[in-house]
């Protein structure tokens, strides 16, 4: 083994280099958070975290009175739109995935998947543009003013649908053929196979898809900015306009300075924390799932 010492060197180097890169990738998140904290510092010092929830509305640059920094309505807006989009998109997406794998003739299934792939590549600004020009006037004729939670949920739903559907589809695809053959051999109908064998087996991928979809819905900026109406209020119905956290940043960032600007960075921090919470919840869910599987 005389060669072993020198032989280890390139591998050591490789391992070290790779780990350094990985560490940098991981550090990026910390960098983002630190930077947001730094920028949000002034307003956080000035008002403390509680006024984010206790203040009387969002008037960060009120010239008459002191700024008011309540993000309750913005949170409600983000929540309502993301929830609506998920509720609309998830069932359709899962049904679409089942359609691709179990229902459609192979050719059509293939075509449908290609269509989803193209749809997944449509930029959000195009969705927003289309929503603003086509969808909002349509809803307005039915329930003014048109730009609303509903419009946002519809546009975002269509936007996140391909993400969920494609991930669910690939999860269904990765269900071992043997499992499906076993179900078929038991004489299970296609319906039972799809719903009670394949979907549960693909649950992990489906859940991941939905979580990614929700995260994308919460984080989407341009499309909601264009179609949601941007009024800062807790919506009483799906036909009322709202402003989301992200739209708020995009709307006001270019015009903000001082405490206002700092407050916008603070909302960026809140958004990031929201996503961290979402990931943690998903993690807990996955953990519980794994335990259940292990015991059951």
């Amino acid at each position: 083994m005389p060669a072993s010492a020198s032989r280890l060197d390139p591998d050591r180097l490789l391992t070290g280099g790779l780990r350094l890169c990985a560490a940098f990738s991981a550090a990026l998140l910390i960098l983002v958070v630190i930077f947001l904290l730094l920028q949000a510092g002034p307003v956080l010092d000035a008002i403390g975290p509680w006024r984010l929830f206790a203040d009387d509305g969002w008037f960060p640059a009120d010239t008459a009175a002191a700024g008011q920094f309540s993000i309750v309505a913005l949170l409600a807006g983000s929540g309502a739109v993301a929830f609506g989009a998920t509720v609309l998109a998830a069932p359709l997406a899962i049904a679409s995935a089942v359609f691709c794998r179990f229902v459609a003739p192979p050719r059509i299934g293939q075509l449908f998947r290609r269509m989803l792939e193209v749809l997944a590549g449509v930029p959000s600004v195009v969705f927003g543009f289309w929503g603003l020009v086509v969808l909002v006037p349509l809803i307005n004729r039915w329930q003014p003013p048109g730009a609303s939670v509903l419009a946002g949920a519809l546009v975002l739903g269509l936007m996140i649908l391909p993400t969920i559907a494609l991930l669910a589809d690939s999860a269904l695809r990765s269900v071992p053929r043997a499992t499906l053959s076993a179900a078929a051999a038991l004489g299970l109908s296609r319906w039972r196979t799809a719903l009670q064998v394949a979907l549960p087996a693909a649950r992990g991928g489906v859940v991941t898809g939905i979580i990614l979809g929700v995260a994308r819905a919460i984080g989407e900026t341009m499309a909601v900015l264009m179609v949601c109406g941007n009024v800062v209020q807790v919506p009483a119905s799906v036909f009322e306009p709202v402003r989301t956290l992200t739209a708020n940043i995009a709307l006001e960032m270019a015009y903000a300075y001082g405490d206002h600007r700092s407050a916008l960075f603070l909302t960026g921090l809140v958004l990031t924390l929201l996503v961290i919470a979402l990931v943690l919840v998903a993690e807990l869910g996955r953990g519980a799932n794994a335990r259940r599987t292990a015991h059951g």
Binding site: L14, L29, V32, F35, Q39, G121, V125, F127, L195, T221
Partner: protein, 276 residues
Amino acid sequence: MGDRLLAGVCWLAAGIVAGGFAWLLGDIVMNGLGQINLMYLLMPVADAGRAGGIGPVIVSTSLILVVCLSVSLPLGLATAIVLSEADDERWFGRLVRRSLDVLAGVPSIVFGLFGYAVFGLALGLGFSILSGGLTLACMVLPILIRSIEQGLRAVPIDIRHAAAALGMQRWRTLVAVLLPAAAPGVLVGVVLGIGRAAAETAALLFTSGYVARMPDSLLDSGRSLSVHIFDLALNVAGGEPRAYAAALVLIVALAVVNLTAISLSERLLSSRINPA
């Protein structure tokens, strides 16, 4: 009975999705197609986008993507390799994975804020293609890593064991065996990254800027196609027809990249499958 019901529900769902898709795309194609010709693709922007073409915008978009990928791809590849081999029980792998999960969910506008302050202000790059590309690189990194890692993990464990049993060095196993085997996954990751980056608007508004002139270097500000659409749609009076045209160009370009890569990766995969 159940089968009929399932089939009905699925056809209905697929119909709704396809209908929405056709509506959206039909609208864009009908309004945009008439505007597009070769001159439109090559000419410089004129009259705030209402006239002329989108030549410089296409060049800027490509340059932003090149910067984005040339930074994120090596970094993503390295991280994905570490993750695909990391034991999830160990703290390092777990830490990296969790922070990437979170990073994947961070809204693009937050990356925009980050890029503006870090690349634009702190590093002094200002509004430039370099700032925009680097910002997008941060943004697509998690997506890239996730799909490359999946590609690497899809390489059967047998093959790693075979390499180990031959006493092969790690780097050679990686370079000669694992990466070629994971090529389809890497390709899919790159395509997803390109798609996400090319579609991004919010993060570019504050980093690569609005300037629609042909860029001379990466330090010039350059308007991406998505920003161009946004600008025409929301800033320029009478910009709507051209917004449709630019949207159509972007969608078609992304679809072409997407479908080429998918068929390529399927060909790569199928050449590996034992016909016996």
